[in-house]
């Protein structure tokens, strides 16, 4: 087994743009917004950056290909800059690139920035994209909500839950995320909603209603990482360190092999196990104090609680309804509003999750700050569809914890 990444790299600074319908901004403006905050937080100059990673997914909707848009927008000093894309998990890939560069010694200080400008598409929801030359010839006419909605059908069948029971648990998740988002000045959606509103909303993809779906947002988020030693030398005292970075990609089993029942995420379970091993976590339900998961749809959040081994199989509905994941619960989930309300600018989302962990651990989360700052936190960033996806799990925590 590899020794892993634990405590080799710390976060030097982070920034995040306001998310939402940013009619005022190009992708480049959003990048600069997140970058300036992160650089101010880190207290460094761009000449101190050794390498950078840019994550975007729908680049054809905004900046186009390559990492040049980042290098140009930030006027970086001709350092190596790489663009990464792994669907909705792209942001975590930029972070992984920067962290690994520092851990390897190839870079002292590295930057990861994720951005997405989706609201130039001209219509709601995610923009249409080709699935690939051959895939377009036969793959189903599937949208993101329809892909994820299917988890509900299989989960319900597996545990004998009727549509109403699942809808109620999903509604609790969305009401909670709106409550949390209302306290977040950078969030896309800051309105509170009621369970009735969720249950009575129009159907987007059976059984998901409007409020079961996350926002489609513009935004950017940025992390600057370095070694603990350099961070200390720069005067940083409370360090947030990377404990684990894991990624698991589907290999076609879910979509082609009859061993998967469609009710859970194969990759999430694999990545979570590896991440807990890497971070030395034996009991995530007890040891994790904050989680940010990929709540693209309420049903995703629900089943992910089991795939992360925090709720026992079949128990997620109960835990959700008990408030276990509420902002004042045992393990808050989406305390910043999550994808649901903070918003989901695809390439930025993994880094946005990290931003919240960082703020909460340093006690800088404002109105939504947990009383006891979290010690160990997890981010779960999923790209693709339940039957074919990449899952990134990152664990961060106080340095040395």
């Amino acid at each position: 087994m590899p020794k892993g990444i634990k405590d080799k790299v710390v976060i030097l600074g982070m920034g995040c743009s306001r998310f939402g319908e940013r009619w005022d901004a190009d992708a480049e403006d959003l990048m600069v917004e997140a970058y300036l905050e992160a650089m101010g937080d880190a207290g460094i100059e761009s000449s101190q950056l050794d390498a950078a990673w840019l994550s975007t997914c729908y680049e054809e909707q905004h900046v186009g290909k390559s990492a040049i848009p980042l290098s140009t927008a930030l006027r970086l000093p001709n350092i190596p800059v790489t663009r990464v894309e792994n669907l909705c998990a792209s942001g975590s890939e930029a972070f992984r690139g920067a962290v690994y560069a520092v851990a390897s010694g190839a870079a002292d200080i590295a930057l990861a920035l994720g951005v997405e400008k989706l609201k130039d598409a001209g219509y709601g929801g995610l923009p249409y994209r080709t699935k690939g030359t051959v895939n377009d010839l036969y793959q189903a006419n599937i949208s993101a909500p329809g892909a994820f909605a299917q988890i509900a059908s299989a989960y319900g069948a597996r545990f004998g839950l009727d549509r109403g029971e699942i809808k109620r648990a999903m509604a609790h998740i969305s009401v909670k995320s709106h409550d949390n988002g209302s306290k977040n000045p950078k969030a896309h959606l800051r309105n509170k909603i009621t369970e009735d509103a969720v249950l009575n909303a129009g159907i987007v993809a059976e059984p998901l209603g409007l409020y079961d779906c996350c926002g489609v947002s513009d935004g950017a988020a940025c992390a600057i990482v370095t070694t603990p030693e350099i961070a200390k030398s720069l005067g940083k005292k409370d360090l947030v360190a990377v404990k684990a970075l894991q990624l698991s990609a589907s290999n076609g089993l879910e979509s082609q092999h009859n061993s998967w029942d469609g009710s859970h995420f194969v990759t999430t379970r694999i990545a979570a196990k590896r991440a807990y091993d890497e971070a030395g976590i034996a009991n995530p339900r007890e040891q994790l104090s904050l989680i940010e998961v990929h709540d693209c749809f309420s049903i995703t959040e629900l089943v992910t609680m089991e795939d992360l081994f925090i709720s026992a199989e079949g128990e997620a509905v109960k835990d959700v309804l008990d408030g276990f994941y509420d902002s004042d619960g045992k393990v808050p989930c989406q305390i910043d509003g999550g994808l649901k309300c903070f918003g989901h600018p695809i390439g930025a989302s993994g880094l946005r999750m990290m931003y919240e962990q960082y703020l909460q651990m340093l006690g800088r989360a404002g109105d939504r700050q947990r009383k006891e700052p979290p010690v160990l936190g997890l981010t779960h960033n999923l790209g693709g569809h339940p039957h074919s996806n990449v899952c990134s799990i990152a664990i961060v925590g106080r340095y040395g914890a």
Binding site: A121, G122, Y123, G125, Y128, T130, T133, V134, D136, L137, Y138, Q139, A140, N141, I142, S143, A144, P145, G146, A147, A149, Q150, I151, A152, S153, A154, G156, A157, G202, I203, V204, A205, E206, L208, N251, G252, L253, S255, Q256, H257, N258, S259, D261, G262, P386, H387
Partner: protein, 489 residues
């Protein structure tokens, strides 16, 4: 001798209520008021003459070996392509295409269905069999026209071969005369027709009887011996008038299927013939006529194997399983008769890369996947490395057909966001009992059947259309069929 070995048909599931059409249009054409009875068949948005024909051919063939087929003939005046062989697409869908398979499209006249059949039977007599003979039409007519009410969509298919088969050919006869009862000019969408009374009295009633008499004379069959007379014409009195002139018993005149189906164009003579064969007893004499710029007549006799030639569903079976559609607007939308608001998602470029489509034609049109020769795992599409995590053999997969496998639903949703001509888009993970699975689009959905564990069968349909280039893509979709099939899967 040559004959019909097997016979099948296909009538699409939807049946448009003529009443709603008349209610919508009688304000401008009161003559329609008498036409509002019963229903006509109508294609779903993802059906065309090719998919209708493929469905009929599959019904006809059942579990017959497609590799033995030496030719596919296809008759239609509504083929989706001006220049791309429909018979070739159907050959791929039947898994009959290849170096030993001929293909021919017959068109340009309403009697193409019978003319092509005579040609196919001649070819079989010359040693070219077995041939699958298919006729299908999805004709469009202007809103508020008589044709809109008279037409129906449907298809029939016959497996022809040497020997007597289920029904042996006793003879055939054709005449030709340039009688223009209607025509459709180049680049015109609709037919232009002449006065019905002239068409009936100078056309059908003068052109058809001599040919019918001649085929009977030449075969030495007395007109009174005809038990099933298939005269595909929806004009009142024509079939009975021809029968009377020819001396064919009135009781032999077959239902023209106006109720519940409508006139399926080039396919209709064969739809009626198949419908008759499904009820024929050994020894029965079947006479089928085709009209259009002359007349064809074919005479068959049912053999003692006629029951064996019957398909699993057939024309009668499909007629019995329709769903009445009372939304006329949907019919207009499906047929492009009204410009509908479309989601901006519909604007996505759907150019087909024909190099890639050609490489994958077995999978796309034949629904062929793979079977691992190392571990036996089935998968679709196939891949160079086996999907089984305990195998991973390389280049171990042989072609494996999936199209007849019953499946069951593992996951599903009904999606109102994605673009489809008929929201919601139903799709889900379909798992085959023998192994393998596919995230598939659904079609012909009865929402009550959309349940995890519910059964499906696979059907060839239009996947999507490329409005910029006029191309039509076909692929297989899952049709929910309920619990009975699920029990098998």
């Amino acid at each position: 001798m040559v004959g019909i070995v097997r016979f099948g048909g296909y009538i699409p599931r939807l049946r448009l209520s003529r009443r709603v059409v008349v209610e919508a249009n009688a304000w401008g054409n009161p003559a329609l008021k008498s036409m509002g009875k019963s229903e006509r068949s109508m294609c779903g948005w993802d059906e065309d003459a090719i998919t209708l024909g493929a469905a009929a051919a599959r019904d006809c063939l059942g579990d017959a070996d497609p590799a033995a087929i030496r030719g596919i003939y296809f008759a239609s005046t509504s083929a989706p392509f001006e220049d791309r062989q429909s018979a070739g697409v159907i050959a791929e869908a039947l898994r009959a295409a290849g170096p030993d398979c001929a293909a021919l499209d017959v068109a340009q006249s309403q009697r193409a269905g019978t003319s092509g059949l005579i040609a196919a039977l001649s070819a079989v007599a010359g040693g070219a069999g077995p041939i699958v003979y298919v006729a299908a039409d999805r004709r469009v007519a202007p809103a508020a026209s008589m044709q809109e009410l008279a037409f129906g969509d449907g298809a029939a298919a016959l497996l022809l071969d040497a020997g007597d088969g289920a029904a042996k050919l006793l003879g055939s006869k054709s005449s030709t005369v340039d009688f223009v009862d209607h025509y459709r000019g180049e680049n015109r969408r609709f037919d232009y027709g002449w006065e019905e009374r002239w068409v009936r009295n100078e056309g059908f009633l003068k052109i058809v009887p001599p040919v019918v008499k001649a085929v009977l004379d030449e075969a030495g069959v007395a007109p009174s011996a005809v038990t099933h007379f298939c005269m595909p014409c929806t004009l009142r009195g024509v079939a009975a008038g021809v029968a009377k002139q020819a001396g064919i018993p009135e009781a032999a005149v077959q239902d023209n299927l106006h109720d519940g189906c409508g006139d399926t164009g080039t396919a209709h003579a064969l739809v009626m013939l198949v419908h008759a064969l499904e009820r024929a007893k050994p020894g029965d004499i079947l006479l089928v006529a085709g009209f259009g710029q002359g007349c064809d007549a074919l005479l068959f006799q049912a053999t003692d194997k006629v029951a064996e030639g019957r398909s699993a569903v057939g024309v009668a079976g499909h007629l019995a399983r329709g769903t009445v559609e009372t939304n006329y607007q949907k019919f207009l939308a499906f047929n492009g008769m009204v410009e509908m608001e479309k989601s901006p998602r519909s604007e996505a470029d759907r150019q087909t890369k024909h190099t890639a489509a050609y490489r994958h034609r077995d999978m796309l049109l034949g629904f062929v996947g793979g079977r691992c020769t190392s571990c036996g795992t089935l998968q679709i599409p196939k891949s160079r490395i086996c999907v089984n995590p305990n195998c991973r053999a390389v280049d171990s997969q042989e072609d494996h057909p999936f199209q007849s496998y019953p499946g069951r639903i593992v996951t599903w949703s009904a999606d109102y966001l994605t673009y489809t001509p008929e929201p919601p888009a139903y799709y889900g993970m379909v798992q085959f009992a023998e192994g393998g699975r596919l995230m598939a689009d659904f079609t012909d959905v009865d929402p009550a059947l959309m349940q995890v564990g519910g059964g499906v069968e696979m059907v060839l349909r239009v996947k999507d259309r490329d409005p910029n280039r006029g191309f039509v893509r076909y692929f297989w979709k899952a049709k929910p069929v309920g619990d009975a099939a699920a029990a098998k899967a």
